[in-house]
């Protein structure tokens, strides 16, 4: 039954068709099954028990937590060897909030080490595989969460999103990925990657479920000064499907096929699916317009992202020294011990990012790279805010198609001119905008997704549009095929 939606499960728990204990047990069994195929988990909490059923929609329902959330008394590794034995003594605020709603955590999901990757191949526990086709990746970094939700282990799992870490894996796994406005969910207890870009969020199989979960996770937190009071916002109650007169835009320079003269058939199909989706929106009264954007500005998005995220990451992860927590390094003095801990603990990908970050922050380079990247971030955000004053949101296809193969095929489509299609979701992080990906079609039996991004604090509006679109398609509540009969 774990493949059902939160509303459905709540009804069954309420009327006694199933108990919370049974549901948790089922979720644990599925976790072990999926683990064999997808390697999605760092920890499966086999001793998890059901809870009381209240009027709270989340009560007694199992869920998964990305392993970069601090969980009290439960191993929290960030999928890194530097924290391979770290058991925190406090819960992340988002986790504590869910606990208050009676939600039952059953596993900790694997991720690209500290969220710093987009493939699901850099976790210290090994490669995470896509349940639709285990030879393919889930994208990342919320890879384990995406795989588990897509496989029907539970209705939702927590993710985090610094560039597209919730919204891209959601697309590759045929599910919903939502990161709300920056600061709506407290980041206290989320292992930081790049603080100004990091968001908490959720992966689900429906827009309504995403609304329910974020309603429970969000709230102002005295431990996170960037959090804000959203008590007047109730996302779930705001969903009514009424979208007549809403206005969306897409960016010609990103979605027009003429931008990709050497486009593969897959990309062509993907863009065609996008155009169909636009038609569906128009059918329900949503006005969708094409907008022109400065190509140069769009082209530098990935570089700006690399500059800012690596710089912040270098600093954020300076606490990982093996002195207070994590395995103690060897060495004759404390500096050598720190070096040993970090040399052995981090994967090569992360080290590369640290080197880039350090370089960018160096006195002689700061103006050229870091400060300029901040300026461009501001320009991009200003341009988006200008558009958001006229439109309810931006709609764009996610990535260039379906999930790539883990081995080898990585650069097939990655010629430079598709970079903007791969990386535009980072706009949502630059501006802290609410952004949601939902599945919008299939190419050769594999799901693809579409993303809607809106202005800050306009989460309810964005979710409502996504809900209306979801209702026009048949991809709500999908479970990855093959293993679940």
């Amino acid at each position: 039954m774990t493949e059902l939606s939160i509303e459905e499960l709540h009804k069954k728990l309420k009327n006694g068709e199933i108990t919370s204990d049974e549901l948790v047990k089922e979720s644990l069994i599925k976790s072990h099954e999926i683990q064999k195929i997808c390697n999605a988990f760092v920890t499966i909490m086999d001793d998890a028990k059901g809870g009381n059923i209240t009027d709270d929609l989340l009560s007694g329902i199992p869920y998964g937590i990305k392993d970069n959330y601090s969980t009290k008394d439960i191993l929290s590794t960030g999928s890194s060897n530097t924290l391979k034995d770290y058991i925190p003594f406090f819960d992340a605020t988002a986790v504590a909030n869910l606990k208050k709603h009676g939600a039952i955590a059953v596993n900790k999901t694997a991720l690209d080490e500290f969220g710093m990757g987009g493939t699901g191949t850099t976790a210290h526990t090994g490669i995470i595989r896509n349940p639709w086709d285990p030879k393919r990746m889930c994208a990342g970094s919320s890879s384990g969460s995406a795989a588990a939700v897509a496989a029907g282990v539970y209705p939702y799992a927590l993710g985090s999103d610094t560039g597209d870490s919730i919204r891209k894996p959601a697309a590759f796994c045929g599910i919903v990925g939502y990161k709300p406005t920056y600061g709506m969910i407290s980041r206290y207890g989320l292992f930081p990657f790049a603080s100004s870009l990091d968001h908490c969020g959720v992966l689900t199989r429906s827009v309504k479920d995403a609304a329910i979960v974020v309603d429970a996770m969000k709230g102002i937190d005295k431990y996170d000064q960037t959090s804000w009071d959203s008590s007047k916002i109730n996302l779930y109650d705001s969903i009514n499907g009424n979208v007549k007169g809403k206005k969306l835009f897409y960016i010609k320079e990103i979605v027009d096929e003429s931008n990709y003269p050497d486009a593969s058939s897959e990309l062509k199909k993907h863009l065609a699916i996008f155009r169909e989706t636009i038609k569906k929106l128009k059918d329900i009264g949503v006005d969708v317009e094409e907008v022109l954007c400065d190509k140069e500005l769009l082209n530098v998005i990935p570089s700006v992202y690399v500059c800012l995220s690596c710089a912040e990451a270098t600093s954020n992860m300076s606490n990982l020294t093996g002195i207070i927590f994590g395995p103690r390094g060897k060495g004759n003095d404390i500096m050598d011990m720190m070096k040993d801990h970090r040399t052995k603990g981090f994967s090569p990908l992360i080290k590369r990012r640290f080197v880039i970050g350090s370089y960018i922050l160096q006195k002689e380079n700061q103006e050229r790279y870091f400060v300029n990247a901040q300026r461009i971030r501001r320009l991009i955000v200003d341009r988006m805010k200008e558009l958001f004053s006229k439109y309810d949101g931006l709609i764009l296809p996610v990535s260039t198609g379906v999930a790539p193969y883990i081995d080898g095929s990585k650069d097939e489509l990655n010629s430079d001119n598709t970079a903007v299609l791969e990386e535009h979701l980072q706009i949502g992080n630059f501006g802290g905008f609410p952004s949601i990906t939902i599945p919008n079609g299939f190419i050769d039996g594999l799901p693809v997704g579409v993303n809607i991004t809106g202005n800050c604090y306009d989460d309810a509006n964005i979710l409502n549009i996504a809900f209306a679109l979801e209702s026009q398609m048949n991809y709500k509540g999908m479970i990855a095929g093959g293993y679940h009969e």
């Binding site: 601090s70 924290l83 930081p192 603080s195 996170d224 000064q225 912040e312 922050l361 006195k363 700061q366």
Partner: protein, 476 residues
């Protein structure tokens, strides 16, 4: 050696007084027991975030105003990145781009002259943990990690060790007056970095600057500067000024010398950037006005008032403004209508001495100004002698009872002329022999008669009146 002009700049780090730490809800208080005042963020556990303590910002802004600095439009912080065992996050949250105050100045007094010291900036930051080194192990105490620090940086505008120390003393007093810090060097609450260079008296270009880091007492600041001036001057005299290089040195207390730590080329690139977890916010002008109103009258202004308006000596005024508690006590006495000089005398001669003898602070001192007034009033009215006043002072402190309880008719001074005259008449008639001798020229017997009166009255006779009447009787 003194043919060169010394140019000195100071960095003064002072721990702020506050309930909690600057970016953490852990208590900010000195504790003998290690690792007591610690929250997860103080040890940089993954996922913890800094939260600014508004009380600390208020105090930092207050100091910025006192130092006549410009305050920034927006408040935000920067990260200073470096690895050290006492720095759990691997960076310190400080202010580099837009400190709470820049371009200020303050007037100090040094050896009887006044000097304006220019302030480069003042900024708010967090302290590191403290390290205790033992023979084969070093221990880390995180109580200090995250304690609020105000760092004040002067322009290189001081010219002697005396001026440097006078500046530090002035600032310490201001911190204490504003209750921004206890500013106690014994508790390690003040630490200084000193920059010293020398130049020819009329030269226009500054000499090579040497930095001495982490000096923990004003005495050591004084010694370090003088040693450094001497060292650099001697090298210059010997034609070896090129051996003075830009470097960081430390002061060795035992030898009284400075020792090389690292040279400029080894300087760390701190890779400063804006702290993303603390949102930038606009400093409210109204709030600044409110802070301004909370600034107490500062020592220099008080001292001038005491001298010019209340007629105190420079010496007395200097002692009284040394501590805000003294000055507040003194001013309360004045407000109660006491004579300024009398009150100053009592404060300096009796009270401050008493405080230091019993090692207590004025706040805990039983004899409040209103109680002191009871003693002084009685003395002025001639009800008690100065000797009795002192006795009542101590008795009142000892028994913790108001002085008026000891100023009664029984031990009151006898000032009634008729009563004293009767007593004197009696004594004269009973001591005719001595009267004869006195009249024959043995005038030192006068004191004998005074003594007899005192003996008769058990010391309570008003000595002035007694002497007056005696003189009148004996000499005529």
């Amino acid at each position: 050696m003194n043919k060169y002009k010394a140019v000195i700049g100071l960095e003064m780090h002072c721990e702020l007084k506050s309930n909690s730490k600057v970016f953490s809800s852990a208590r900010n208080s000195y504790n003998e027991i290690a690792n007591i005042n610690v929250r997860p963020v103080d040890m940089a556990f993954p996922g913890t975030l800094p939260v600014v303590n508004k009380e600390c910002i208020k105090k930092a802004l207050m100091m910025s105003i006192v130092l006549n600095c410009k305050q920034p439009e927006y408040m935000y912080f920067d990260r200073k990145n470096y690895y050290y065992p006492d720095l759990p996050k691997g960076f310190q949250i400080t202010q580099m781009h837009d400190p709470v105050g820049v371009d200020g100045s303050i007037i100090i007094e040094c050896d009887g002259y006044e000097k304006e010291v220019l302030i480069h900036d003042i900024h708010l930051e967090e302290d590191a943990a403290s390290l205790d080194h033992y023979f084969d192990v070093s221990l880390i105490d995180y109580n200090r990690a995250g304690v609020p620090l105000l760092e004040l940086v002067t322009e290189p505008c001081l010219n002697s060790a005396e001026e440097a120390v006078a500046f530090l003393e002035t600032m310490r007093r201001i911190y204490q007056y504003c209750e921004v810090s206890e500013a106690d060097t014994k508790k390690g609450q003040i630490r200084c970095d000193v920059n010293v260079s020398i130049m020819e008296e009329n030269a226009t270009e500054l000499g090579t600057k040497v930095e001495i880091k982490n000096i923990n007492s004003f005495g050591n600041v004084y010694d370090a500067i003088n040693y450094e001036i001497k060292r650099q001057s001697e090298l210059k005299d010997a034609g070896r000024y090129d051996e003075v290089v830009q470097e960081t040195r430390r002061f060795d207390e035992e030898t009284g010398t400075t020792i090389h730590m690292r040279s400029k080329v080894d300087a760390i690139d701190y890779k400063y950037f804006v702290e993303p977890n603390i949102p930038k916010y606009k400093i409210d002008k109204i709030w600044l006005e409110e802070i301004k109103k909370d600034i107490p009258v500062l020592p220099r202004e008080r001292k001038n008032k005491y001298i010019n308006e209340l007629g105190l000596s420079e010496y007395d005024a200097t002692i009284i403004v040394k501590e805000k508690n003294y000055a507040d006590y003194f001013e309360e006495c004045i407000n109660l209508g006491m004579d300024a000089k009398t009150a100053a005398n009592w404060l300096i001669v009796q009270i401050i001495a008493y405080l230091s003898k019993y090692d207590i602070i004025l706040k805990d001192f039983y004899l409040k100004p209103s109680f002191l007034k009871q003693i002084i009033d009685a003395q002025v009215k001639g009800i008690i002698s100065s000797k009795q006043a002192k006795e009542i002072f101590f008795k009142s402190l000892e028994e913790e009872k108001e002085p008026k309880n000891f100023i009664n008719s029984d031990n009151a001074q006898i000032s009634d002329k008729n009563v004293i005259e009767d007593i004197i008449n009696n004594i004269i008639s009973n001591n005719q022999k001595q009267v004869e001798e006195y009249k024959n020229g043995k005038t030192n017997l006068f004191d004998y008669f005074v003594g007899q009166v005192m003996k008769e009255t058990r010391g309570k006779a008003n000595p002035v009146i007694t002497k007056e009447i005696l003189k009148d009787k004996l000499d005529n």
